[in-house]
Symmetry: C3
Subunit: 455 residues, 3 copies
Amino acid sequence: MTEGNDQVRQSPLAGPADALEPAAGEAMMTLIRRLYPICRSITGNGVRQSLDIIQELIPLRRHEIPTGTRIFDWEIPREWNIRDAGIRDMSGRRLVAFQNHTLHVLNYSVPVRKRISREELRGHLFTLPDHPDWIPYRTSYYKEDWGFCLAHNQLSRLTDAFYDIEIDSSLAHGSLTLAECVIPGQTEEEVLLSAHLCHPSLCNDNLSGLAVQAYLLRWLASEPRRYTYRAVFAPGTIGSLAWLWLNRKRLHAVRAGLVLTGVGDRGGFTYKRSRRGDAMIDRIVVRALQDEAGPSTVRDFSPYGYDERQYCSPGFDLPMGRLSRTPFGEYPEYHTSADDPDFVSAGQLQGALALCQRVVRYLEHNRIWRNLSPYGEPQLGKRGLYGAVGGAGGPDQQRMAMLWLLNLADGTRSLLDIADRAEIAMDVLMDAAERLERVGLLKNQSVQGSGLNVE
Amino acid sequence: MTEGNDQVRQSPLAGPADALEPAAGEAMMTLIRRLYPICRSITGNGVRQSLDIIQELIPLRRHEIPTGTRIFDWEIPREWNIRDAGIRDMSGRRLVAFQNHTLHVLNYSVPVRKRISREELRGHLFTLPDHPDWIPYRTSYYKEDWGFCLAHNQLSRLTDAFYDIEIDSSLAHGSLTLAECVIPGQTEEEVLLSAHLCHPSLCNDNLSGLAVQAYLLRWLASEPRRYTYRAVFAPGTIGSLAWLWLNRKRLHAVRAGLVLTGVGDRGGFTYKRSRRGDAMIDRIVVRALQDEAGPSTVRDFSPYGYDERQYCSPGFDLPMGRLSRTPFGEYPEYHTSADDPDFVSAGQLQGALALCQRVVRYLEHNRIWRNLSPYGEPQLGKRGLYGAVGGAGGPDQQRMAMLWLLNLADGTRSLLDIADRAEIAMDVLMDAAERLERVGLLKNQSVQGSGLNVE
Amino acid sequence: MTEGNDQVRQSPLAGPADALEPAAGEAMMTLIRRLYPICRSITGNGVRQSLDIIQELIPLRRHEIPTGTRIFDWEIPREWNIRDAGIRDMSGRRLVAFQNHTLHVLNYSVPVRKRISREELRGHLFTLPDHPDWIPYRTSYYKEDWGFCLAHNQLSRLTDAFYDIEIDSSLAHGSLTLAECVIPGQTEEEVLLSAHLCHPSLCNDNLSGLAVQAYLLRWLASEPRRYTYRAVFAPGTIGSLAWLWLNRKRLHAVRAGLVLTGVGDRGGFTYKRSRRGDAMIDRIVVRALQDEAGPSTVRDFSPYGYDERQYCSPGFDLPMGRLSRTPFGEYPEYHTSADDPDFVSAGQLQGALALCQRVVRYLEHNRIWRNLSPYGEPQLGKRGLYGAVGGAGGPDQQRMAMLWLLNLADGTRSLLDIADRAEIAMDVLMDAAERLERVGLLKNQSVQGSGLNVE
C-alpha cells in the first residue's frame, strides 16, 4: 500500500470528561442531605423550601399556579400541607410519628383526628411484608383518603383494641409551585432538562436527578453555548403538565431534552428513547454511552414512566429521552425508606454529571462539516498531519479520524453521522475536526449559531 | 414515580376466540367424511357433486366454463369423467379396483380397455417403494396418458404374463366448474378466500381447507362486517385462473386474502407471505399467530406452491398469503392414500377456524384512532380508568394498552401499527380502544365503513 | 398441490467459469516473474519498463505528467531513478547491495556517497526484528531522506566503526508515468479497473493485481460487451490522482469499478465495499462471491487502504470497491521481501481472474426483464419447459429459476434484484432468462445497449 507518510503528531486529547468543580459529587451529596428531610408533595411548602435551597446554587424563576386552574385535561388540586401526624396507643405512647419519617403519612392525606378500632385502622395502613423494616411510599392525590405507612414489623406492636390517630394536614385553596432555570446560549433553540420535585424523603427518586440537574446548570453557565438550556424543577405529572401549559406556545424551540431521574444508585446507565426513537438526543446519548464504554442499557420508549409521559404525549412529541441508572421498580429500595442517603453515592452522582456534560458537548459540537479539498485525499504530510516514512504499520485513531472526516464531510452529514459510520468516539472526531479546520481543510457548514440543520 | 392513581377496573375481556358453533370441529370432520369418497379432478362431475354437498352449508354461485375457452395463457381442457377402472389377472380376479380407492387411477387417464403384457403394464404403474402400503396420487392433465397407482406391495402379486386392463373414463367437450360464496359487508372492499377443489380422496390436501373455508363463511354471515367476504371453491391452477379471468375487472376491490390448504394435520401453523411481503394481511396474520402464542412459522413468498402462484402473479399481485399447517411435501403422507380421514382431526380443524376468525376480527378492527386529548396524558382516574392509591406496583396489561393507545393514536397509525410497536395483543388493544371511545377520549378516524385508509 | 406437469429438460448450463486461455494462471506467473526484478517507484524508469512488458499483452495508452504539475491538492514530484546502492565495510566488502534486492534501498532515497560512523548509519537502517531474515519495504516520497532496508540478521555483521555508503540515485525534473487500456463496448458507460504499479520487488502487492488486470482485459477483448472497460495501470495515490485529474471531465461515465490488489496469496477473497456501500458493483460482487461459495469476507468501506481512497473521495465518490485476498497488513509477509514469487500461485491468480470474469458476466447480464404473460403463470408445459406427470416431487433449481423470473420480471427489477430475493445464483437465472426469452415469455426491458437503468 502506498501512503504519503506515517508519523503522527500526538496532540493532547480531551480527557473522558472535562475537569469538574472539585468534588462535585460530594457537593451533590451535601445538597441531597439538606433536601432529604423535607416532606415534598405535588403542592405545598415542601416544594417551596426545596426550591429555596436549590436557588442558592442556580438562579430560578418560580411560578405559582392557583388551585382550580385548568391544565389541559387536568385541574390544579387544592394545596396540601402537613405539620404533624401519628398513631398513639391507649397509653398515649406514639407508635408511628411523622416527625420520624415523612413517608409515615399517606401523601396528600386529608386531616383526621379520632379514636378508632384496630380493625378500622388496619384498612388505612400500608406495609411491605417482604421488607419488614422498610416504610413504603404511598400517595392519594386525587381521591380523598388518609393513611399511614409503616414498617411491617411495627404492625405486630399494634395490639390494643383502639388507637388515637391524628393527621394535622390541610387541603385548601392555594397553588402549585414550579421553577425553571434558563442558561441562554447563542441561539434561541433549546435543550430542555426536567427533574421531578414531588417525592418526599427519597434520595435516588429523585433528589439525585435534582442534584445532577442543578450542578449541570452551574457548569453550563461557564461554558460557551450554541443552545439555550432550560431546566424544569417541578412536581411529577401535574407539575410538568403545568410547565407545558405555561410554555405551550414556545415548545417549537426545543431541539433536544432529557428527563433526569434515579441517577445516583449503584447501577449502570439506562437510557429510554424518546417517542420518536431516532431523535438527535437519542442518537447522541447512545453515542455518548458507547464512548464512555461503561455498562449501560438503551430501551425503547414506552408510555409508562416519569414525566417523559407528558413531554412525549402525541400533542407535544418533544424529542426528549430519559436518563436513569437502575430503572424505577427494578430495585427493591424503590419507593421505600431504604432509598435513603446511603443508597446513593458521590461517585455515581459525579458519573451521571460527567455523562450529561458529555451529552452537552456532543450536542454543541454536532456540526456539519465540509471538506474544502474533496477531490482525492488532500496531502496531509505537507501540513504536518502525516508521518514521513511510509510502508510500515497502520494508522492510529487520530489519523483515521482525520481520514473519515475528510471522506464523509461532504456537507450532508453531521459529526454524529460520521461518528456512527466510522465507529470513532465523538471526542476524537471533535479534536480531529478542529485540527483540520485549523489548516483550512474543513469548514463548518452549519448556519452560524444554529442547530436547526444538524438533526 | 408519580402516577395519578392505581387500582384498575377488571373488565371482561374477549376470550382467545369467540364462541364457535358447538363442535364446529366435529361438523367439519363430518363434511370431510362425506366429501372423501368422491373422485374429483380439475373438471368433471366429482367437482359438481362436492359443490352440491358444500351448498348445503352456505350459498354458492356456480360457474361452468366451456372446454376450449381461452383463460389468459391457458385453455379449458376437455372434461374428464370416470366410472370405473381396474386390472384383472388372467383368472379374471380384480387386482386393482378404482371402486376401492379413487387414487388407483392416474387422474385424467384416457379411456383404455385391452389385454397387455406385464412389461407394458409396468410402464403405466406408479408406486411408492418407501411406503409400500400407500397408494400415490398422480395426474396427467395436459398430456394424454393412462395409468394406475397402487401400493408397492401389490406389485409383487402381478406375476402373470398378461393382464386385462380397463379405464372406463371419458375426455370430452364439457366445462370446468367453480363456485363462489359472497358474504356482503358494509363496503365493497373485499377479503378474498380460496381453497382448491380438484384433489380426489385426500383429506388434508385439501378437504381441510374446503371445510374451514365453508365454516368460516357460516360464522361470517352472523357477524357485523365492514368488508365483503368472497370465497372461491375451484380446481387448482386452471380453476383459480378461471376465477381470476372471470373477475379480472374487479380485482382492485381485494384488500386482503388467504389461500387455505392443508390446515387439518397435527402440525403448527405455517403462513406464507404474499408476494408483496408486507401487505396488511401479512402483518395481520403474523400478529394473530403471535397473539395465539402456539408454535408457528412464517415463510417468505416463493412462486412455487398452491393457488397463491396465480393470485400473486405479477399481473395481479393480490395481497394474499397462504395459511397451512405442515407445508405440502414436508410430511410423508402428502399426496398419498395415507392422507385419509384419520390424518386430520376435529381439534386441528377447529384451531384453524379459530385462527381465521381471529384474523377476520383483526382485519375488521384495524382502524385508525385519534386521541382527542393529546396534550399530556388525560386524567384517567376521574373517568374510573385508573386506581386511586399511587406509589406501588406497575401497570397491568389493560392500563398499558390504554396508555399506548393514547400515546400513539395520533391519526396516522392503525391499531395494527400500535399493536406491533407496543407488543400488545390486538384483542387487548381492541378492548382498550372501545373503553377509551366510550369515555370520549378516542375517536375512530377511519372513513366510516371504509378500510381503504388502514393498509 | 396442482401443477401442470413435472419433467424438466436438462439444458447445458454455463459452468462455474468460462473456459480460460489454457493455463492462464501459469501465464500470469510468468508475467509476475518478469516484472519482479524491476525497481519500481511512483516515478522513474522502473514504471516505464514494467509498462513495456505489460504492453506485450494488451494495448496501452501512456501518459507522462511533468514534475511540478498541480494535481488537485498535490504536485507531481521530481522523478526518481536509481542505478546502484550499497554499504561497504572498511575492507571494501559489500554488505548490503541494491543489485541483490530492490528493497534494500529506502524507496526515493536522495543520492548519497560518504563514509559515516556506525552510529550515524544506524539512524538510516530499517529492519524487522520479528522476522530477522526478511527485508522490509520502506519509502520516503515527500521528505528528502535516504536509507537502507536489510534483514535484521545482517545488523550483527555491522561491527566496524565506519562504513562507506553509496546511493547512486537521481531526483530530478522529469515526469510521472501511467497507462490505461480501453476495451470499448456497445455503450460509453464504463467499468473502471485499477491496479497500482509503484511497488518494487513485491509480488502479491501488487504484481498479482497487475497480472489479473492484464489477463482480464485480454479475455474481455474477445467477449461481447455492453460496457466499455477502462483499466488504469498507475503508481498508487499520486498516480491514481493523476489519472482522476486527467479524466475529471468524464468520470460521470463510470458505472462500476474495482481496485485489484493482493489477489495472489493463499487466502480467500476479501471485498471492500465502495463508499456508497450499496452500489451495483457492491451487490454484484457480493452475489458473485455467494455463487462461488468459497470462503470470502465482505467489509464496509473505510477511508484507509489503496487507491479506493482516491476514487471514493467525496468529490468523486465513484462506485468502486476493492478486491483482494488476505487484506494488506494482515499477513506477515506484507511489505517485506517474503512477498516473493513463491508467495503467490498460479491457482490463486487463476481463481481471482475467474471471479473477475464472473463479475463481468453478472454486470453485463444484469438486465431488467419483463414477463409478457403476467396474468397467472404461463403454461410452461405446452412450451416443453415443464414435466408431464404431476403430483410427485418438487421443482428443481432450473424450474424454480423460471418461476421466480416469471413472477418478479415486472419491468421494475434487475436480474440482480431477482437473484437476491430468490436466492438463486445469477448464472442459473441468466440461463433461465435466455430460455424464457427464446419461447417469447420474457423480454429485455433495458434500453438497448444501455446499463443506465439497471443500477
